[in-house]
Subunit: 337 residues, 2 copies
């Protein structure tokens, strides 16, 4: 299996004149040392607290890549940003984008990058092919975050666990499966964009054989209880061959999604424990869920603490909110297995 791409760091984070910058904020939050500056148009009130610079200044400061850190309405690259992309390429930078539209569909950008030998990373659109292995056990340890639903904190929890492992001096790598995670870590596979036949193979490629004591901390996708996306989740569960899983949830949600799936109630945590362990056991007989990560941002502190205590007691495992409590209780349990 060929190695995955690696985006050249550090980043100049491009915000342009967009009105939200979740990707840039995420990269800034999790990888501050990988960001040399932000590039904003004069009209933009958004600020992610990085030095202001343009492409040439960032190149002088050692930047390797212009990262599109803002999502314009509709997800397509605005035409009036193209001149800035060209300017970045000419200054010596590669470009990385998690937008739905592709840099490599813009002829002026493609031509300029080819002429100058720069890389274009459309991380939402994988180019790799993945060999289907035999799914035998491979060395190294693997943790996968799984969820009751989409958008319940699986990426955040995985990044927090990676950080806690590294703080404790334990060898670990966050393994990204979605565009924001890929831009944060500089590599990964946008799993929901892979042709379905190769999802398990891609997940296996993402967490290759490693030192026995090494932890891959793999970002989960979707939910086994989601009628539209459970297949992606199952492929990821099977391919990652995780030893441990952390179950993530958002406790105020009553049905899956926001309002798209009114016939699908959020599953119980107990149902998730049973279903995820059963699914994972196909490719790793020892797979277990070691704790719960709750996004309690919609609860007040007293209710949040009461909920975490109740869940921890009921399920006999640590229960945290990565933002309120950190994840050390999860990592303590992880290191016992």
């Amino acid at each position: 299996m060929e190695p995955l791409f690696k985006i050249k760091m550090p980043y100049l984070i491009f915000l342009g004149d967009a009105d939200q910058a979740k990707t840039g904020q995420g990269v800034r939050h999790w990888r501050p040392d990988s960001c040399v500056g932000q590039w904003r148009y004069p009209s933009l009130p958004l600020d992610i607290d990085l030095p202001e610079m343009n492409a040439a200044q960032a190149a002088d400061a050692g930047a390797g890549t212009l990262l599109i850190g803002a999502a314009p309405a509709g997800g397509a690259l605005p035409a009036h940003w193209i001149a800035s992309m060209i300017e970045a390429l000419e200054a010596g930078l590669d470009i990385a984008s998690g937008l739905h539209s592709r840099l490599r569909d813009v002829p002026a950008i493609v031509e300029c990058a080819a002429r100058l030998g720069r890389q274009l990373h459309d991380v939402r659109h994988p180019l790799e092919t993945f060999a289907i292995g035999n799914f035998a056990p491979r060395p190294g340890k693997r943790l996968l975050t799984v969820g009751t639903d989409c958008a319940v904190g699986k990426m955040y929890t995985a990044l927090a666990v990676e950080r806690e492992l590294l703080v404790r001096g334990i060898s670990a790598d966050f393994r990204a499966t979605g565009q924001t995670g890929i831009l944060i870590s500089g590599t990964g596979v946008s799993l929901d964009a892979v042709v379905s036949d190769f999802v398990s193979a891609a997940a296996a490629t993402l967490s290759p054989a490693n030192d026995e004591a090494h932890w891959d901390v793999i970002e989960g996708q979707g939910s086994l209880f989601h009628p539209a996306f459970a297949g992606v989740t199952l492929g990821l569960v099977h391919g990652s061959q995780a030893d441990a899983m952390i179950l993530c949830t958002e406790p105020t949600r009553k049905v899956l999604g926001i309002h798209e799936f009114p016939d699908y109630p959020l599953p119980t945590l107990e149902a998730c424990l049973e279903t995820y362990v059963a699914a994972a056991s196909l490719t790793n007989k020892r797979a277990t869920i070691i704790g719960i990560s709750i996004n309690t941002s919609k609860l007040d502190p007293a209710d949040a603490n009461a909920l975490m205590d109740e869940v921890s007691t009921r399920l006999a495992m640590p229960c945290v909110d990565p933002v309120r409590t950190g994840v050390s209780a999860l990592v303590d349990r992880l290191l016992e297995i």
Copy 2:
């Protein structure tokens, strides 16, 4: 959701000088009325028992499409077949191919088809986009074939059930999810080639709302017990929202695949019954397995009959081999639900 493509029938089946013609034989077997002739090069000993004709003769006989019915070694279109493809287009035929390589990657074919207004169907490479619905119940009845493994008779069983339903005067449509099935029925979705995020949506699109008494008979793919492909299977199970499933197996196989997955024993039928019903119940609470289809081709008749009797008694449901016994016992049970 847009309607799927429809290949113009009947077919002229192109065999060229290939040394196997499984696709052509399958189409000939299941849709004899959709085949006007076969087109072979002089050197070819293969014969699927259709009148010999070239493209112009087939067009005169009413053919709508040249179907590539033979798989050359390697799965790519041989260069020396291109002249025949052009000849077919010029005679007035569309072209349909289930090869890995694409007709639309051959400039001479693309240019000729565009100039003459012909359709090129690379059925292994879907072009459609699929809207993600809400997976609410939809009218009409649905049967899905599922399996212990890949290549255990899921397509054959589904086609046999469709034929039996039609013989009994019951409204039914075979719904194809793989390239051979698509060429047999003239439409469908090559599910394992769909981007993973859209597998469930594609399966839902494939079996749209219909008359309450109508049966869609959906071709299964892969197996929930296959470490590489279970995600595709789960997406199909969820999107098809089947009322009934038939479990297909090949009893002499000990591990999944031929020898690629030595760590993965073939699951028991009991494990399959439990796992498929649990998975399907997410999107259809009434989903049930109504019978077993065994490919007994490697057993002698006495052993085959003994096995079918034993399985039928043990699991308390009909058990057939579509080739040896037909599927009427399955259809009898199906019509009881």
